[in-house]
Symmetry: C2
Subunit: 360 residues, 2 copies
């Protein structure tokens, strides 16, 4: 049976990528060994990591003013690491738009001075607060932190806030990196757990403006300093080689699709089709405000929790898997990252229509 996997992450990877990785799993490029078995200092892996970095730079148009790094620990480690490196004695501002942005804030508040400048928490994070209503970030702030897409509530920034030129804008783009064009020069730092749009779990991609590397306190542990990664091409110690390899394959695939602009068009069309269906339905409902809807994670509810559960169960049996909402909020969620083809969205909508007919 053909299945479509709507997991929020670890998420489906492009079918072509999975096939290549499987085909060469035991014998990478005639080396006689799998990529997972090869030294990170050898010429085979060196080509892989260099290609991964070059692909990220090319696809996102990253200038030489920035470093691209691969760091273990996921975005959760970045919540602490960015504050350890960049906060100092200053105040860091955080936009509270979801569970993950709130966790990022708490890690900074634990380490120093952090402040929430806007929040949609009381409305169950159903929207991105209007920038005009945010508390202003002063020119001497350490940084302003946002979460560009919120996987749990299903919201996404359409534009990004403007800050004083002395204040780096930092974005956790874990769940929408490379899904749409962004101007990297508008950010001091972009980071993303790889397991949604870039590869498997176990790695974050960090893109940091080089002048910020100098803020790091000298006495931080080696593995918690960004400079350790930037100065060693992420090879100070053994990196997660298989994750970097899959990222290289995924970014090869994005290039073959025509780059991020082309991918963005498809993502827009996929999301529009699903939201149009939800808007046309009296049976399914989404709590997310129209202007804040995520094109990556689409959330909805059925008329009761029992029907939510029945829907997920029957959808799974029909080959539409991992549609259960995040354990914090319940309901249903379809994560339609770059790798999800339009055919998956069509199959989902067909199933939703059929389920409503049988149970509505």
């Amino acid at each position: 049976m053909k299945t479509y996997n709507f997991s929020a992450g670890p998420a489906m990877l492009p079918e072509d990528v999975m096939k290549i990785a499987q085909a060469e799993f035991c014998n990478f490029k005639d080396s006689g060994s799998g990529l997972v078995e090869l030294s990170h200092r050898g010429k085979q892996f060196t080509e892989v990591i260099d290609r991964a970095v070059a692909n990220v730079k090319e696809l996102m148009k990253v200038s030489d003013d920035y470093s691209v790094m691969f760091i273990q620990g996921g975005a959760s480690m970045q919540f602490a690491m960015l504050a350890m490196n960049l906060l100092g004695d200053k105040v860091a501002d955080y936009a509270d738009t979801g569970v993950w942005s709130n966790k990022a804030y708490k890690e900074a508040a634990n380490l120093g001075k952090a402040r929430i400048v806007c929040s949609s928490k009381e409305d169950k994070y159903a929207y991105i607060p209007d920038f005009a209503k945010w508390e202003a970030t002063p020119a001497d702030a350490a940084y302003l932190h946002i979460t560009s897409n919120n996987t749990v509530a299903g919201t996404q920034y359409r534009t990004f806030p403007k800050v004083d030129k002395n204040v780096p804008l930092i974005a956790d783009m874990s769940s929408d990196i490379m899904s749409r064009e962004v101007n990297v020069d508008d950010f001091g730092m972009i980071y993303a757990g790889a397991q949604k749009n870039l590869g498997p779990s176990g790695m974050a991609v960090v893109i940091m403006r080089n002048d910020l590397l100098e803020r790091t306190p000298a006495n931080l542990p080696t593995m918690l300093k960004y400079s350790t990664y930037s100065e060693n091409n992420s090879l100070y110690n053994t990196p997660p080689t298989f994750a970097i390899y899959l990222l290289a394959l995924v970014t090869d695939w994005i290039k073959a699709q025509g780059g991020i602009a082309a991918i963005e068009k498809i993502n827009d069309a996929k999301a529009a089709k699903l939201y149009d269906f939800l808007d046309s339905s009296a049976y399914y409902s989404t709590p997310v405000q129209k202007d804040s809807r995520s094109r990556m994670n689409v959330v909805w509810r059925l008329p009761s929790e029992e029907l939510d559960a029945q829907f997920v169960k029957e959808a799974t049996a029909a080959g539409l898997t991992q549609l259960k909402g995040h354990r914090i909020v319940g309901g249903c969620r379809a994560s339609i990252y770059n790798a999800m083809p339009m055919a998956g969205v069509d199959a989902l909508i067909d199933f939703m229509k059929d389920f409503e007919k049988r149970n509505g």
Copy 2:
């Protein structure tokens, strides 16, 4: 051509493990998705991580007084993390037996009070110093840290030092974990990067006595506290799912071989054969003292650096790969971890004989 991969890490994995991982790469247990594409909260991955933990406990006879954790960042992250969690205001003692033990010491010294109690550095780390000559570790020390096997110099502890019962013995077993039986109860903490005997790079296994979890300062970042991992079965955030999966397969394989005692016998025989050959040769020489020889990493030199390089090049062409010594010390090195079959050692010795005949 049949190849044997002697990489020091990431290192070869058992052939059976590689074949299983390849076969189910795109469709794990009929889920329609690869393991890398599945949620870490789903029932498929839950079974995998539970099995991985259970296998580690069973194989190493870990009692319920200990927690088994999977943490990103490799052993290098553990160098800092263990000091952040366990050092406090006390002094930590370090045995300096190689490049990695020295790095571990430096991370602790950066964070607090650390002391070197013995060192073979001036002799290029060619032996493990006699315990009788170590400075005594006082009963109020934070811990005593050792590196059970030293991959660069090719040395290994045969027995472990005794410490006061109030002092936890902490061992970096990155390069010999599960290669031989150890009594876990003798240690406060054992940690190991996975990429030598347990799986791919991108993860460390940490086995910690539960009372030590209480030493952690309350204000440490969440991802740097051991309790975050022990209290959440390593699932506080998205873990490196593919690495945990491969570890589950590798430990399944060790069990199928008869467990660690059976593996140890084979490892002893493999190493004995290679050292016997080196001892019988006037052409190849190993700088390592007999009583400190590693059964995991066997190092040797040829009569000149030019011949070292020629040897590595010709061996690679003959299917014996990754034999170059660590970039710090040069020469040659064969890493013969659990996954290396006796046939690989035999093929290496045959090649060494032939190379000597042609060039000696």
